[in-house]
Structure formats: structure tokens, C-alpha cells
């Protein structure tokens, strides 16, 4: 199992290993060498060995990795498949798209309710999940005890609702808002998705291609 002091950059690569291994497995590939995996993933073989060694390493000299075993091991490390009741706050365009686009159950997230302040949305169902009035979130949490909240609301609304959600036992946030929960709260798990920041980073990368000393910096871009 995982050793301590694993860097965030290694953790961030694990879901990608997981994706590639899933594909290999789906294609009937039983085992793979770190060299072959590195070509497919655009990483060096030593990088892959280093990454996986952080978690004890699963490769065998001369054999490589057993695809299914490594996939299962990374699933365990990531904590995938552990059932977690989840609510989504903000059933606007983004919230609805996230609901319809993501396979929550494959990772153990059970979406049990969506919340919005827009009367025209309340009562609707998206993928079989009902949209409730945001004012009922506390009551809902007391009754159903969700552990995870997906925030698809503006910063101000996120700031107000985070306090309520945390007071009702929510410990994990998939945060699409620009409110940085980690500044105000400890002991919660937050994964931010700042689409605006990502788009600005793309701007930088395009600009970098065009500007004189860009090449130097481009090399530092890992295939993320």
C-alpha cells in the first residue's frame, strides 16, 4: 500500500495510469513493460517505475506489470469504488452537464440529490436525480448524510453554502466555484476545477509558442 510523503504530482498521475491500464485491459492486454507503458503515456520508463515505487512498486524484473493487478491496486490506492453519497449544488448549465457527462458510480459516488435556487429547475430530474430547493440542503443532509458535495455555483454562493455543508458532515468537495475552501477550512478534501484558470493557462501556452523565450519553458509541460 501507499507509503507516506507521496508528492501531489505523483498522485495527479495515478488517475492517468488508471485510465491507460483500463484501456489496455479492455483491449485484452494482460501484461506490459514500463518501457511500453511509457511510450503510450508519454512518460519515461524510469518515471513510471519511480511513480509506482512510491506505492511499493508492482513490477517484476523481466515480466513488467500485470495490467489487471496494477489497475486494481491503483483503484485501491485512489479509493475508487468506496460508496459515497454525493450532492450537487447548482443545477445550471455546468451542473447539469457535469451530471450527464460524468460516470460518478464508477468511482463510488452516488449522486442522491441536486440543489438550486431557481424555481423553474426545482422538481426537475436530471438522470433520475431530483433537483431540490437549496434552502432544504441542511434538512436533506440530516436525513441522508451525504459525504461529498459538487459545487457548481458562483463564489459568493459557495462561500455561504460551504459552511452549511461542512456543518452537516460534508467532508469532500469537487469545487467548480472560485471559492477556495481550503483557506477557511481544515480537515476537508477539496479538488478544485477552475475552468477559467485552465483557459488562461491555455492562453499562456499559446502565447509562449509565439513569444521568443517560450521554447525553454514549453519543455516543462508534462502530458497532464
Amino acid at each position: 500500500m501507499a507509503k507516506g510523503n507521496v508528492s501531489l504530482s505523483v498522485i495527479r498521475r495515478l488517475p492517468r495510469y488508471h485510465r491507460f491500464l483500463r484501456e489496455l485491459s479492455d483491449n485484452g492486454i494482460v501484461r506490459i513493460s514500463s518501457g511500453d507503458l511509457s511510450k503510450r503515456m508519454g512518460l519515461t520508463a524510469s518515471q513510471i517505475r519511480q511513480d509506482l515505487n512510491c506505492f511499493g512498486g508492482f513490477g517484476q524484473q523481466g515480466y513488467g506489470y500485470n495490467v489487471k493487478d496494477l489497475y486494481d491496486e491503483i483503484s485501491k490506492i485512489l479509493g475508487l469504488g468506496i460508496p459515497r453519497k454525493t450532492v450537487l449544488i447548482g443545477a445550471g448549465n455546468l451542473g447539469r452537464a457535469v451530471t450527464q457527462h460524468m460516470d460518478f458510480s464508477a468511482r463510488g459516488f452516488q449522486l442522491i440529490g441536486m440543489f438550486d435556487t431557481n424555481p423553474s429547475l426545482i422538481g426537475q430530474k436530471i438522470g433520475g436525480v431530483e433537483i431540490y430547493d437549496s434552502s432544504l440542503i441542511g434538512e436533506f443532509c440530516e436525513k441522508h448524510h451525504p459525504a461529498v458535495a459538487i459545487l457548481c455555483i458562483p463564489k459568493e454562493a459557495a462561500y455561504e453554502l460551504a459552511a452549511v455543508l461542512i456543518s452537516h458532515g460534508i467532508k469532500g468537495f469537487w469545487n467548480f466555484s472560485h471559492y477556495d475552501l481550503t483557506i477557511d477550512y481544515d480537515g476537508i478534501a477539496v479538488e478544485n476545477v477552475h475552468l477559467g484558470d485552465s483557459l488562461s493557462t491555455l492562453c499562456y501556452r499559446i502565447h509562449e509558442l509565439e513569444c521568443p523565450n517560450g521554447e525553454q519553458r514549453l519543455n516543462e509541460q508534462p502530458p497532464n
Copy 2:
């Protein structure tokens, strides 16, 4: 202006500085010390000074940073506001949500067309932008010369269309697909948004809160 060898982690923080500075400016704050900015952003003052020094540093001893000047300087560094014709591929739930949710023009991206293979979507308009048949993308590029493509399509479709788009001069990709363009192409700017990987990372972080040696690793999570 920017010096070479700026690490990706610094670059990734720039859009966040930009966001906070915009808020400060909107709230009529003219200048701010690195200490005050660090409290608001959950970074250390020295971290902020280090980051901004990568680009020459803009602070003045005893004065701090001029909010508007620093905001404008970071805008320049990020290449925001430079007009770039942009197409979006895949007008499904995610593509439509991205179109309706993001302020492209604020960063210089001009969304001039959307593309899909679904006949029921072709001809529709989202936010005034028409959805065309994906088979016409090459023709469209020859005529309008977009520089950026937003990929909201599955991996296989992204693999096929990337070749077409790059052959027609697209040099920047905001990539929501799981196809890693950087493995097959050099000299393009790619910013990946892997929502599935992000959700898996949230899984890990929640799991980490629950598992014994989690605390140790949690400390490495920056407010991203």
C-alpha cells in the same frame, strides 16, 4: 517581462493571482502587500514574492504591489486579450455547458463556430454561435482560419479530428477529451481538462482523510 525557465507550477498560479487581483481591483483596492495578498490566497508572502520575481517582480519595498499594474502585467504575461478565433468540437452536454458557462471573450477567444456529428444539433445556435456538421471543419478552417480548438468529444473522435485541425493551422487546444495530443504532436499548445482524473483525485483525497498515513500527504496539497 517573463524570464525563461519558469516552472509550470508558477505558471499555474498566475491565473489565480490574476483572479484575486481582479477582485481587489473591483473592490476599489489600489495597492496590497505580499503579506496581505498571501493571507487572502493561502500562500506564504515569500512564495508570492518568489512567484512574481520569476517575471521580474513588480513590488516596491514598503509599498507592496499596485493592484492594477500587477493585474495588467499578469494579463500581458498570460497573453490574455489577444484575439484568437476559436472553434468548439462537440456540442453535447459538456460542449454546450462550456460555451454557456465560460467568458471566452474576456481572454481574447472568439468562438466562431461549433461542430457536431449529431444531425439534430446541426444548425442550432448556442449563444449566437452556430453548430455545423463536423465533416465541414476542414473547409471552415480554410475559410475562417481559427487558431484554437476546444475538444469536447470522446478520445477516438479527438484522435481523428486533431490531425485535421492541426493540418489546418490550429495551434492551441483546450482538451476535455482523454486523447493526449502532446504524445503525437509537437509545437502545439495543449491544456487538458480531465474531469474524470480530477474526480478520481478527489476520491484519493477523501480516502486520504480516512486512511492512517493520510495527514502526512495532505500537507502537500496546495490551494490550487
